[in-house]
Structures are given as C-alpha cells and as structure tokens.
Symmetry: C2
Subunit: 381 residues, 2 copies
C-alpha cells in the first residue's frame, strides 16, 4: 500500500426531513448567497423547505447554474456575491450547482477573473465557506473538495480543487422527482467513480478493494429496484449514500487511481454537451477493452466478486466481465457507443489533438496519451 494522507471534515446530515436543520447549521450572523440551478426545485418542494428553514437568516438568491457549470454563468454569481458582500454560500441542487459554488467561493475573494483560478489553482486564496443541500446523487461533490468547471467560449472542461463543504444535507425524499435519465446518469457516474479508484492494480489494499466492491455490488443490487420505483425511500437512500461514498476518499486510501475515463468523458461533454454520466457509460467499457492487458488481474477480480464471472479461461472471463459492465450501463437505459450519440472520427481526432497539445497522459500507469485516448474512443464506436 502507498503512503497516504486522508482527511474529510464535511458534516453529513442524512435522512428524511433534514433540510429543516439549515436553520441551526448556518450561523445566524452570516450573509448567505443561496445558489440554484433551474426552477425544478420550486416544483418539488425543496425551495419551499429551504426558504422556511432560512427564515431569520439574511440571504440573496442566485439562480441559473447550469449542468456542467460554465464560468460565464459563475462570473455573474461572483458579481452579485461581491456586491452583496456575502460570507456564506449554500448550494441547493446537484453536483453542478455545488461545483460551480466551489469556484464562486474562491472567486469572491479574488481580484481577477474566475477562470484564472481554474487555470492557475495556486492563485486560490481565502475561501468563503460553502455548504450544500444535495438534490441529485451523482458527483460526490457534497463530500469532497473537487469541482469541474466548463468554459463555453473555449469549449473546455477542467477539474478545480477548493475546500470541502462545511456540511451537506442529503434527504433521499428530494430525489423522487429526478428525471429517469438523470438517475441513470447518476448511477453510472457513481459506478465509474468507484472503477476509477479500483480498476488499476491488484494487491495494493485488500480492505480498499472490498469497500470499492461493496459500493459496486450495492449499485448493481439497487439499480433495477430504482428503475422499477424511484420513490422507494430505502433504495433511493442507498443510492444517495453510494454516490457520496464513491468519491469522498473513503475507498481511495493508499491505492492507485486511474481517471482516464473521466478525462476522455469530459472532452465529450465539452465538445458535444453529452451528460457526464452518459459520457462515462460510453468510455468505460472501451477503456477496459483497450487496457485489458494492463488491468488484467483487477478486471478478473472485479468480474468474480461483482459479476460472479467464475468460469472459463482468463481471456473468456475478461471478455465476459467487460460485456457485463456494458450491459449494466445499457440496463440503466444509457447509450454505450459513440454512434448512438452521433459522435465519430472528427471528435476522436479533436480529442487526440487536445491530449497531444496539452502533453497530458492519464491512468494509473500514466500512459493514456492522445494515441491511447484515440484507441479507447475507437473501441467505443
């Protein structure tokens, strides 16, 4: 096992009726900016619960942080927050709203433009505290320090690291009104977050392996139940818990990580607006196919423990395990091939060019450069 440092100070407040706790979790003397996405929260009762809980607090609202939050939108929020001199940020929404709010947190105390901070994270200084009411389980942003920010002008999408939310409120009942496609994407995102931290080398940590497999097994178990009935509290609560536990560092202690599927997926989103979880469902099986020699032993372990793939020679089990993974994403109702979302050679060439131009190489072996990214995308055709 590799040496590691782990710390995750976020307070997780989980369960039915917990939005009311906003009343006491935010100090009364703070000037709050509440950030939202679209208007759906006004239809499903979340907005009403937030307003009720914040009675007695001073706050302004900023609406309109979009999926794959753009710096163009976030600049407007920063301007409002500076003008109103806010000193606490409450993100109410999904991972995109929270991600965007993490950049606002830094930009509120920064003189220059917000995109500078994404390109030069070392310029990040003081941060305005952030908390969240998470309404869409997927990104894990509610319990980590990461964010992903897009730039519409340049069609770029980059990771940015800020601080952990002070607290995050997770009430599974607020997930009942999420559209089916978004739930499917959230389940795929959760599943791939785990694979990025797991499908690397064997023998680094048997405990971390078990915990990663535990999330995967649980997602596989609950996904069909959720497809049947997305208002079942029990299964939606497990989905919400899995999404948070998949990317809060709990399964990443001392083990290698990959993330090449995410890096390629981000390009598909940046270039074509493909929903994040959908992009991962397309790229992940192809990553496994192209890197099957390198990930050989771990794919076999994953196949055995998560998919019960026990029979046949090693090659047959590898193939079967990759098929099972793709079939799982299809069972969620997602596309798993580039052709299904009308993406072809032009985009492959552009992503290869971008990786080469940026001189980046991802994956646990640091070998997923432009050439390998092309091979993965071709395998996903």
């Amino acid at each position: 096992m590799n040496n590691f440092v782990f710390q995750n100070p976020t307070k997780l407040i989980f369960g039915k009726g917990t939005i009311a706790r906003l009343a006491t979790e935010i100090p009364a003397d703070r000037k709050i900016m509440v950030t939202f996405g679209g208007g759906s929260l006004k239809k499903n009762g979340v907005y009403e619960q937030v307003v009720k809980a914040l009675a007695g607090h001073t706050y302004v609202e900023f609406w309109g942080i979009e999926p794959n939050p753009t710096v163009e939108t976030l600049r407007k929020a920063v301007a409002l927050g500076k003008e109103q001199q806010v000193d606490f940020l409450l993100a109410v929404g999904g991972g995109s709203v929270l991600d965007g709010t993490k950049l606002i947190s830094a930009a509120l105390r920064y003189e220059g433009d917000a995109w500078d901070l994404v390109l030069h994270p070392e310029r990040t200084g003081e941060l305005v505290p952030v908390a969240s009411v998470m309404t869409m389980p997927a990104t894990g942003s509610e319990m980590n320090s990461g964010a992903v920010i897009s730039n519409k002008a340049t069609a770029e999408k980059f990771a940015y690291y800020s601080d952990f939310p002070k607290f995050s409120i997770l009430d599974p009942e607020v997930t009942y009104s999420i559209p089916d496609f978004q739930i499917a994407c959230g389940l795929a995102d959760t599943f791939v977050h785990v694979l990025e931290q797991y499908l690397t080398r064997t023998g680094e940590s048997p405990l971390m392996d078990r915990w990663a497999e535990g999330v995967l097994q649980t997602v596989v178990e609950i996904a069909p139940k959720i497809r049947e009935n997305k208002t079942d509290y029990y299964y939606m609560s497990q989905y919400m818990l899995c999404a948070t536990m998949a990317l809060n560092g709990f399964i990443a202690m001392g083990v290698s990580q990959d993330w090449c599927t995410h890096m390629i997926g981000h390009e598909l989103t940046a270039l074509h607006g493909i929903t994040h979880g959908q992009s991962l469902a397309i790229v992940m099986p192809a990553t496994m196919t192209v890197l099957q020699a390198q990930k050989h032993d771990k794919i076999l372990q994953y196949g055995e423990r998560v998919w019960n793939v026990m029979s046949g020679d090693e090659n047959a089990r590898l193939v079967k395990t990759i098929e099972k993974t793709e079939a799982f994403f299809r069972s969620l109702g997602l596309a798993t091939r580039l052709g299904e979302v009308n993406i072809g050679e032009d985009t492959i060439a552009e992503i290869e060019r971008r990786f080469n131009e940026r001189k980046v190489a991802f994956g646990e072996a640091g070998n997923v450069n432009g050439t390998v990214a092309r091979a993965i995308l071709e395998a996903a055709l």
Copy 2:
C-alpha cells in the same frame, strides 16, 4: 435506514516514515505534553523518532499511562500539564495512552476532579487539542472521539466521549515489535468492533453491510499471515488500516448498533484485569449464542458472506457460524471460555448485580440487562 449525522475531521497520516511529519503538523508555538505508556517505545525506536521530529518544539513528557488507563494515573498527568501550562497533547502509544490523553484534554481545562467528567460528561468544557502517534492497532481511538477510562479505587470502567484527534500518524513499521498476544487482542478487538455495528438487524443498509463485511473478510484473510510473520509491511499495514476503519463511524451510518459484548467485556477487565480484546473473544460467541433468535437473519448473512457457510438448514448454519467465530478467536491464540481465565460464578453474579444496580440494558434491542448478561456469561463458561 435511520437518519444519521456523520462527521470525522481527523487527519490520518499513514505509512512508512511518517512520524517525521510531527515536525510540521504541530504549530511551533505550542507547549506540548507528550504522553506515553511504558518504556517499550525506547527500545523499538519510536521514542527516538518522536524526539527527533519534535526538535525545535517545546514539550514535556509524561510516562506511565497503563493499559486500561486509570484516573489515578491520569490525575498526575493533569497536574503536570496544568503546572507546565501545556496547550497541545501528543499521545504516543496504543489506544490506552490515547484514551487517557482524551480525558487529560478535558481535565486540563476543568477545575474539579477528572473522574467527575467521566461520570458527568456534560461538564466537559474547553478541550486542549490532542494528536497521536498510534503504535498498537486495536481500539480505533486514533480516529474517533471515544475513550474508556478505569477507576482502580472502585474497579469501574466507563466510556467517555471527548473530541477527535486533530491528526493521527500511523506507521505500520512501528507495529513489528508488538508482542504476539497484543496483536491477537488487537485483531479480536477490531473484529468485534465491526460485529457490534453489524450483527444486529438485516436490511438497514446494504452498503454499510458490505463495508462491515469487508473489514471482517480482510481481518480473516490477514490474521494467519500476521501469525506467520508480524514484520510483513503489507499485512501489518492492512491490520492497522482495518483497526482504524472498524471504529471511525465509516461502517455505522444509519444502522443499529449493539455493544453489549463490550459492556460485559469491560466488566471482566474492571474486575479481573483481562486484556480488552481477550475479554471480547470470550463474550462475543456467547452473545451470538444467547441472542441467536434476535440476530438470526444477520448471523446467517454474516456466516454466508464472511465464513462461506452456505449448506444445511438455518439452525445448522447458525451453529456453524458461531463455531467459526469462536474458532477464529482460538486461531489467534486467545481463550474463548471464562474457565480458561479462571472466572466463574462469583464474577457472573457481580456483573449481573452491577447491571441491575445501574438499571442498564444494552444491545440493539435494549434488552441486555443483568439477567441476559448472566445468560451470556453462563454460555461462555
């Protein structure tokens, strides 16, 4: 799943050579009291590493916190700390040293006697920050807010809750010199910590079940390797990680907990000085036997997933699973029967009397009173 609040802010610094990080983790302007147990740390090189790392810091040393730390000893540390006006505590040792230091942390800022705080925890006020260099994996104290404090005068042993360590340094290499018996007790303690949070009701959280089973499976896997060679970094690092993850709240989100085995075990320690992990190895199989009707479904799940007990009718599988659990403790070299540690009816009667006198009842169903505690102890004869 039950509603829950989770927060664990401890910074975990894990791996070879990490004791040197003390130099930068503790602010230079603090007046530190370093607390130790016996002198073994002067033989295994830990003391030397700590002294080297603290060069440039101001500190006093307090030696002699014993296994099952007594308030009698801790009072002396509090007196020294008050006299020296320390404002940072660094515990270097096992769970007992750290547990004792957590009480010192509160007592340093309290006017009255330290035992008051154990009996009346609501009197706890300001706390002096605590950090640790953990040298004996077992209690999980390095990443939780709990402590267990003994009173020699009254032969009592009670839980006390303070704050989480600011950071804990875990270098698996420092475990190589732990005596075999202490390693066996540490593995048993880790195993039973998980069972206390798992062997209750089924169907509360499939994810938490998987994570609990993951720790159990890992401990079962590594225990024989450690018995063969306790200087194997890989296995000792997993042991250390399992001990911490078994009692830091990560497997306890939204699920019922038991703890009756611990409460009965504490009495065996308080009355006869039985090492904590050893006491649990005696009580746990008996708890399973007596409460097998109540814990029926969960014992079957545990048997299937951890011990591969799949054949036979339900009753046969229950019996087999309890046998496997007892055999595991015996494979560590521990006693599993009261007779082996020369405890009999007198002690059973005293523990029954104490539970009745205190009007306590433990376990996930709140039904382990004096009468049930007697039944459990009789099953352990």
